[in-house]
Every structure is written in C-alpha cells, then in structure tokens.
C-alpha cells in the first residue's frame, strides 16, 4: 500500500453549499478539477436553485506565470538539445557536454530569477510583489539544489577538487559579501567601517584569502600597533596550501604540506602571537578549523551548508565524496544546535550529500510548486546514467513519469501546448499515447492553428488524429457554408464518406440553382476525384458541362451516357442526366448513335419501371407526377426521333 509523503494540501472552495451534504467535483479538460459552487465573483448573492457556478482548481499553477514562461520556453530548447547528444559521445567529452547542459539550465534559472527580482523590487508592497519575492526565493533554492547536484552527480568531483567546487557553490549563493565589500571599500576609511571585521571574517570563511589579506594590509596601514600581527596572519593566509587546477601535485603531497601549515597556525596560537587582538586571534582559530570559533560566526555564516564548507576548508580540505554526508550531518546538528528543526531545503541538500538521488527528487517533488524542476533534473541525471535501476509501480519509469506530468501541465495551458509535444516525443513508453490523448483536446480556433496541430500529427504518423482533425475542420466548413473548403479538408483526410456527403451537397445546390459553385476547386480535382464515387461523378458531371459549353457535343454525349451505364451516377440523379440529354437529342446533326440511343432508352425504362406506386397519392404528389410524366413523354419522343434519324444516317452512310 502506498503511503502519503506529507499532508495533502487543503483548498477552500468559496460558496460551497454545505447543506446539500455533497460535494460534486470532476476532472475537467486538462489538469483542472471543477467543483460546483454558488459563489459569485460579482458579489451578488442571488439564491438560485442548484449551483450556478463552478470553481476551477488548477494543479501546477506556476505554468501560468508570465515570467516563468520564459524559463519553460528557453529550457525547452536545452532539453531538446540534450536529447540529441547521444551515445556517440563517451567518457570525458560526454561528461563535459552534460556539465555544459546543466550550466545552461542553471543560467536560465538565474536569468529568470533576476527578472523576477526586478519585478519584486518594483512593486514591493502589493500582494503580487510579495508573490514575486516568494518566487525569487523558490527559484534561488532550485538553483542552489541544482548546483549541488551538478557538483556531486554530474561533475562527480573527486577528493581535492570537490572542496573547490563546494567553495564556488557557497560563494555563488551567499553573495551578500560582495555588496558589503563594495560598501566598505567605498567608504572614506575602510578599516574604520563598522562592518570591516565582519567583511574580513566572511572573506576568510569563504576561503577568499587574497582579498582578506588585502583588507588586513589596510588595517596594518592605519593601525601601526597591530601591523606586525596583521603581517603574520597575512603570511599564514598566503602560505595556506591549496589545490590549484593546473597543478600536478598529488593529494598526499598536499595533505603533508597542509599538515605543516596547520601546525604552524597552531604554534602561533599557542605562542599567543595574536593574544593582544581578540579579533585577529579568532581569525586564526577559524584558520585552524575550530568548531567553536566557527560557530561564533553563526550570523555571518547564515546557514549550515556555509558552515559545513568553511569547516571542511580548514579541517578536511581533501574530504572524500563518500565522507561528505558525515560532516554534513554533524554540521547541520551543530549549526541548528537543537533549537530548530531542519526545513525541506535542508532535507533536500542533506539527501544530496548522502548521494541519495531518489530522495532528492522525492523531496523536491513535494516541496516545489511545479514539475519543471524535477522533470528536467531527473532527465539530466538519467542522461548521466544514474537512474537506470529504478522502476516505479506506476507509469513506466521515474524520468518518463515526471516528464509526462510536466508535459500535461503544459498541455493544460492555453498556449504552451507546443512545448509539451517535444517532451512526449522523448518518452519512449507512454509518450505517444499521452500525446495522442492531449493533441485531440487542443481547441482549433483558426485554420492556421489547425495546420500546426496537423503538422505535429502528420510528422508522427498519427493517422487517426489527422483524420479526426480534418473531419472537425470539414464539419466546421460545412456549417459555415464553405463547401469548397469542406471538400478540400475531406480530401486531405482521405475521408470518402464525408467527400460523398459534400459532393451530394454540391449536386443538390446545382439542382436548385442550375449552376455550379466553387468551380476553381471542382475543375482542378485531379486524381483526388477517385476518393469517392460521388466525387468522381461530381467531377465528371462538371466535365460534361464544360464539354457542352465548349460545343464538343459528341464527347459530351458519350460522357453523359457512360455516367449512367457505368453506374457512377446515383439513381436519383438519372432523370437530371436524361433531361440534360434532351438538348443534345434536339441538335440539328445527329449526336447519339443508334446504339447509344438504345442505351438511353434502356436507362429511361429502368428508371420508370423501377418506380414504386404510391398507395394514396396526395395533390402535390399528383402534380409532381404530372411533371414527371410529361418529362418522360418528351424524352421518349426525342429518343424515338433521334433513333429514326440515326438509323437513317447510319444506314445511308453504310450504303454510300
């Protein structure tokens, strides 16, 4: 049985009728839940029977943020690019690529965060401003987590460089020091600035020793009594062995040199070199990695992971990745000191330090308000081949599950559906089915939009969806009296039944008006004419009219006859065709041969003999019958005369 990982959030529905003792809700289109309510936004409280309004609850509301849209669009490009770097790359170059992708994702988060920050500053006091600043802190937490994951899981930094990466990580996210530094250095007398020592300490805590030394030299210049001590401490900072990226020294060498340096610091402290200046002495203690001295700077450290990194820098510079979680746990415990309990962010970072990827993703899914983060991070980690063994008891695997969850949020959005398509494409198991279900639900407001949806379907050979979209458009066109358009759509869908229906409408219109509409289309049907019998008939019948118009009577006559004898023409239309034959029969020269005239006669007899007799003919029926009988009589007469003329003509021709 599954367990809940936390309390479900409660959403209040205003104006719910609790007397009814029932709450009706249902899944609406997309990712929304709709509930009946009598709540009226306009404030009028009319009592109406039943519930006249519905309340819509949307999941994943971050999709609707205007600024986050940039994040979605830009990261979509990165995502698609990531799916393309595939197998051919191995080893180092692949890792470099993946790290670059990860950095790209982070820079997009940062850009978004900065813009959001500007908005938050711009209207500080309003509710939307507060919302912006809460978004900023969420984005900044996302970047913090992503960056740590990048160091631990993608970069897979070994002992030594690991600490350098962690230092960068802390420097990037605890950046108040830069503004402080600018503030202090900008003042008239930096060393007398009230935050001067805070600045020096923070620089030391972040391992920015060169800058700290420069600060100390400023102090030495203005304060001759402590100049000596500052120089000694500065020398200690300068001589601290650090791993530099281009250096070839081994870890053991480093450890040895570091040990020597550590002992020297220790000696200075024992000798009381800094005894006269408590500030310098506490700095020296920091250099020794003394827990108590570090914890004294709690205010400056601001959070436990900064404490962790400072502690590692001055006590375990060559910490191994596997030991990281021990230090992390003790740092967290020391820093919180039992006063407060860890927050979700702390738990996520701790899980990362423990190298428990699944825990990281799980905690993030619970804590963050959107699927963007977990979906993209999981996908990236999957490309690092870190998630393969893990299967879920629902869906196919975690990567796919999260990507599809994110994609369905995009499909629920009014305009972001195009992004969702690519996410579905890269989910091998359930992506296709999911896309099929979503794509059918996109409202087709204009033909242009429909064409875009159609292109998506056609590229993926989704024939069923192509048919249904074309049919919707054809239906719409019929409703709007645009028969030409309707016919083109049904030809595109290869929908024979609908083409027949539209052709019938054309023929009916012709019978009513006596002329064809939309000739530009019908005259240019080409091979598409073969789609349905009725369409073929429509095209051929129009051809007959054209031949007749061009006075090519013989061709027209044989075409007309073949339409009936080949059974292409529907029975109901035969009388019209025979009537069309009348003027041809009445021409001066003989057009129908005797043979053809016999055929025409047979058609006419077929038509008249097959007619059922009405039991109780009413007045109108009688009148119609009357017209019908006159027509038949006229036809018979014309046919008989033509037969006579053709026999004479053929006979005389043979005779001569």
């Amino acid at each position: 049985m599954e367990e809940f990982d936390g309390e479900p959030t409660v959403t209040w529905i205003p104006g719910l009728n609790s007397q009814k003792k029932q709450m009706c809700f249902d899944w609406g289109p997309g990712e929304m839940l709709v509930c009946e309510t009598s709540f009226n936004k306009k404030g009028k409280s009319e009592m109406v029977a039943g519930c006249p309004f519905i309340h819509i609850i949307r999941k994943d509301i971050d999709v609707y943020s205007k600024i986050l849209r940039k994040l979605f669009n830009e990261s979509h490009g990165i995502f698609v690019g990531l799916q393309r770097i595939e197998e051919e790359l191995t080893g180092k170059s692949r890792k470099a690529q993946l790290v670059r992708v990860s950095k790209n994702y982070r820079s997009v988060i940062r850009a978004c965060m900065e813009e959001m920050h500007q908005f938050a500053v711009a209207d500080k006091d309003s509710a939307s401003g507060r919302q912006f600043s809460s978004q900023v802190s969420i984005l900044s937490a996302m970047e913090l987590i992503w960056n740590l994951c990048e160091i631990l899981f993608i970069e897979v930094a070994p002992a030594g460089p690991l600490l350098l990466y962690l230092l960068d990580w802390v420097r990037l996210h605890v950046c108040e020091v830069d503004t402080l530094s600018a503030d202090v250095l900008g003042s008239e007398n930096p060393s007398k600035h009230e935050s001067f020592w805070n600045l020096v300490t923070t620089l030391v805590l972040q391992g920015r020793l060169d800058e700290a030394r420069q600060m100390l030299s400023k102090e030495a210049d203005t304060n001759p009594t402590s100049a000596g001590m500052c120089r000694v401490l500065g020398d200690l900072m300068r001589t601290m062995p650090v791993l530099s990226p281009g250096n070839t020294q081994t870890l053991t060498e480093l450890e040895l040199r570091w040990q020597h340096w550590h002992e020297e610091c220790e000696r200075h402290l024992q000798d009381g070199t800094f005894a006269s200046d408590p500030r310098l002495e506490s700095l020296c203690k920091v250099l020794l990695g003394d827990d108590a001295a570090l914890l004294e700077q709690k205010e400056l450290l601001s959070n436990w992971y900064h404490f962790l990194v400072a502690r590692l820098l001055y006590s375990q510079p060559t910490v191994k990745p596997m030991d990281l979680h021990l230090y992390a746990q003790s740092s967290l415990d020391l820093f919180l000191g039992g006063e407060s309990s860890p927050e979700p962010l702390d738990n996520i970072l701790m899980a990362a330090f423990e190298f428990d990827i699944h825990q990281v993703i799980k905690e993030c899914s619970i804590a963050l308000s959107n699927w963007w983060f977990v979906a993209h991070l999981t996908d990236l980690l999957d490309h690092c081949k870190l998630l393969q063994s893990h299967n879920l008891y629902f869906g196919s695997n975690m990567r796919e599950f999260l990507l599809l969850e994110y994609a369905s949020g995009l499909f629920a959005h009014h305009s972001l559906w195009q992004l969702g398509v690519d996410y579905c494409d890269h989910c091998p198991e359930l992506g296709r089915v999911s896309l099929e279900l979503h794509i059918e639900r996109i409202p087709l407001t204009t033909e242009q939009k429909a064409l875009k949806v159609l292109r998506v379907c056609e590229q993926r050979q989704m024939t069923e969806q192509v048919r249904s979209i074309c049919k919707i458009l054809a239906m719409k066109a019929v409703r709007n009296n645009r028969l030409g358009s309707a016919l083109s759509w049904s030809i595109r869908a290869k929908d024979a039944a609908f083409a027949t229906l539209v052709s019938d409408r054309f023929l009916r219109d012709y019978c009513e008006r006596g002329c064809f509409s939309d000739l530009d289309l019908i005259d240019n049907l080409g091979p598409a004419m073969m789609l349905s019998d009725r369409l073929t008939f429509l095209g051929k019948y129009r051809e007959f009219h054209r031949l007749y118009g061009e006075k090519r009577f013989v061709d027209a006559a044989s075409l007309l006859l073949s339409l009936m004898t080949s059974q292409i023409a529907p029975r109901s239309f035969w009388m019209t065709l025979l009537t069309d034959a009348l003027p041809l029969l009445e021409q001066k020269q003989v057009i129908f041969s005797a043979e053809q005239t016999y055929e025409l006669l047979r058609c006419l007899e077929d038509l008249t003999s097959g007619r059922p007799l009405c039991a109780e003919p009413d007045a109108q029926q009688l009148q119609e019958d009357d017209i019908e009988t006159t027509k038949v009589e006229m036809l018979r007469l014309a046919l008989a005369r033509n037969l006579a003329r053709s026999i004479i003509k053929e006979g005389s021709l043979e005779g001569s």
Partner: protein, 380 residues
C-alpha cells in the same frame, strides 16, 4: 551573420514587421512591430533596437531590443502591416481589421479605426453570421486589402467607414495571403495551390487570371512580389517548396525549389537588394537565399547541415524574346547556370518561425518558442 540577438517575450509571436523608414532617410531600421497569437490575451507591440542612454555599458545589452509600447488585440494577430510611419494595420482571427496609431511622444498605441466583422461566414439557415479569421492584409496607402478564411476579398480605404469594394466568394477555399501586383491589381494565394490575379477595375467576382501548381493542390501560405520586376512572384507552400512565378506567361511556376521540411510561413524579397530572398518555416528554420551572380564560383550550396537542396526547374520557355539584361536572376531557368547560395540564419532549430521581415541590413523574426531574433548585420 555572427550577431543575432534573441529575446524571450512570454508570448507566441505570429508576425514581425519593420517600421518603414521615411523616404530618403539614411538611417537603418530601428523600430519594429510584433503581433502575438494563441495567447489568452494577445498584443500588438512596438520594439526598438536603438541604443538607449540608460543602458549600462554591459556589451551584451547593446543589440537587445526593448519594448516601446503594446496594446491588447482581440483574437490572434493573423497579419500585420505598416500603413505608414505611424499607423499599423492588424488582421484578427475574429475577422476584425484594426488600424493602430502610434504616438511616439507618450509611447502609446491606440485604435484609430476598426472594421469589425470584415470577414464572416454565413451559416446555412441561420441568419446570424459567425466571424471568419482574416488571414492576410496588404497596404498601399490609402488602400488596404484583406483576405480571409471565408474566401472574401475586401478593399478598404483608411478614410472610409465602409468597405470600398467586397468580392464575396472570391475563392472556394481559404485565402492565405495577398499582395499588390501593380495597382489596382492584387494577387492572392489559396489553400488549393492557386494564385489568382484580381483587377479592381473589373466588376464581378471572377479573377483575371489563375495560375496553379499542377497535380497535388498543395496549399500556398505566403506570397511576395519582386520589388523591381513586378511580374516576378515568389510563393511558399505547405510542403516547404519555394516557387518562383512569372505572371506574364504560363500558368505554372518557372521554378520549384525544394526548401523547408514543413509549411513555409513567409517569403520576402529583400526590398533594396532583390537578389536576396528570405524564407521561414514551421520546421523552425530561417533561410537566406542569395541568387546574386557576382560571386565567381558559387554553385548551389547549402551551408549548414549539409542538406542538399535540389533544383527542380520547369523549362517552360527560354525567354528568347525577352531582353537579356531584364531577366531577373530568379527567372533564369537553366539549372546548370543557376547559382543560389543558401544560408541558415538561426543557430539551432526551435519551434516554428512564424514571421520575418527584412529592411536594409536588418532582419527580425518571431517564433512559437516565444523568442524574437534580431540581426543588424545581414550582409557582413
């Protein structure tokens, strides 16, 4: 083509247009208009690529475009054209045609004139008509011509409240785009692969000429006329093919060039350098076609991606009767002689590139990935 700037704008861009320069001006383009589509709220916006005094010296910002002003637009912006320096005509999916006026002083846009329900359907039996999207608009001051899904052609004048001329049922299928050929003649393309030429001097609703692609009736989505040689017309189709037509002769295209892999949404001759042509497509690509014959050893080349573009030429006529010097480089039909260099302008494929516009050395395009790309060094 090194410097191409992208900016994400949180709305899908359907149209981008440069503001025309005042005649005789030596400046380069610096203001363009965009229209959005498929958003819950759509906008017509004006942007500037000019340098702003208040920007910091951060080099990356220099070419970036800044929003000047915007106004809400009802429905998708289906087409957008500058009427003159200050006025923009927008075609809406609601069938409405609007002229927006730009007030440069207080940086606002306002509605200056509107023809609601310029395009509409008449349903069977029901007297109420439903609106039909207006798909294309073209301006030639003071005239504005619009076409729509209802197959209707409207001729408006900026100072007239009512349409000056309407051709109902001009086309049995959807009209996708329109351009002026020579006043008062216009040219439309439709969704069954036909080009139709209309003359407003003639009464009735019949075109003076119909040209069509043979066979498959591939829909045509865009059309542009050669700026100097008015008989040369380029169209782009649903299959991504670029067709060059000579409307004086034949009913078939002079040449068919295999281009994009999906719908070609727009094609534009360079207004002052018409040996250059630009196309963009649903497949997310933006191409620059260079048919100038000044390069000594240019052959049909495609620079990026290595995809060969095949040249399918229909030798309809050898044009022996036409003066050699007058032949446009686009009309020479001998494939061996033809030298067209094609360059892909966007760094990596994105979602559909819906629109582009060129003016002088500047190009702007807008995509469904909600980004606007601008370059100011087309021929560097």
């Amino acid at each position: 083509m090194e410097e191409i700037y992208a900016k994400f704008v949180s709305q899908k861009i359907s149209k981008t247009r440069w503001r025309p320069l005042p005649p005789g001006s030596l400046q380069t383009a610096e203001t363009f208009a965009t229209g959005s589509w498929d958003n819950e709220e759509n906008y017509v916006s004006l942007w500037s690529i000019g340098d702003f005094g208040n920007l910091d010296s951060d080099g990356g910002f220099e070419g970036d475009h800044q929003l000047l002003c915007g106004i809400k637009h009802h429905g998708d912006v289906m087409d957008l054209q500058f009427f003159d320096q200050e006025r923009i005509v927008a075609a809406s999916s609601t069938g409405c045609v609007t002229i927006f006026l730009h007030h440069p002083n207080n940086r606002t846009l306002s509605v200056s004139q509107q023809w609601t329900a310029a395009h509409y359907h008449t349903g069977p039996g029901s007297p109420s008509c439903s609106n039909a999207p207006c798909t294309g608009v073209v301006c030639n001051s003071p005239e504005i011509v619009t076409v729509g899904e209802d197959g209707r052609i409207n001729l408006f004048r900026a100072d007239h409240k009512e349409a000056v001329r309407t051709i109902d049922n001009a086309d049995s299928s959807t009209l996708h785009a329109v351009t002026f050929l020579r006043t008062p003649e216009i040219l439309t393309v439709n969704s069954i692969g036909q080009l139709k030429i209309w003359d407003f001097r003639q009464q009735g609703n019949e075109p003076t000429q119909i040209l069509s692609l043979t066979g498959d009736r591939v829909p045509l989505h865009c059309v542009d006329r050669h700026p100097n040689q008015q008989h040369v017309v380029a169209t782009g189709g649903q299959d991504g093919m670029l067709s060059i037509w000579d409307v004086r002769q034949g009913t078939m295209p002079v040449s068919l060039l295999k281009a994009h892999e999906a719908e070609m949404w727009e094609v534009h001759f360079h207004p002052s350098n018409p040996d250059h042509l630009f196309t963009c497509s649903e497949d997310g690509s933006l191409w620059h076609w260079d048919a100038s014959t000044d390069g000594p050893e240019k052959s049909l080349l495609f620079h990026q991606g290595g995809r060969n573009s095949t040249f399918l030429s229909h030798s309809i006529s050898n044009q022996a009767n036409v003066h050699q010097s007058l032949i446009s480089s686009w009309l020479s039909t001998d494939p061996a002689k033809d030298r067209i260099e094609i360059t892909s302008l966007l760094p990596n494929r994105t979602l559909s590139v819906n629109s582009l516009d060129v003016l002088g050395p500047c190009l702007v395009c807008g995509t469904d990935a909600e980004a606007i790309y601008v370059t100011r060094q087309l021929f560097s």
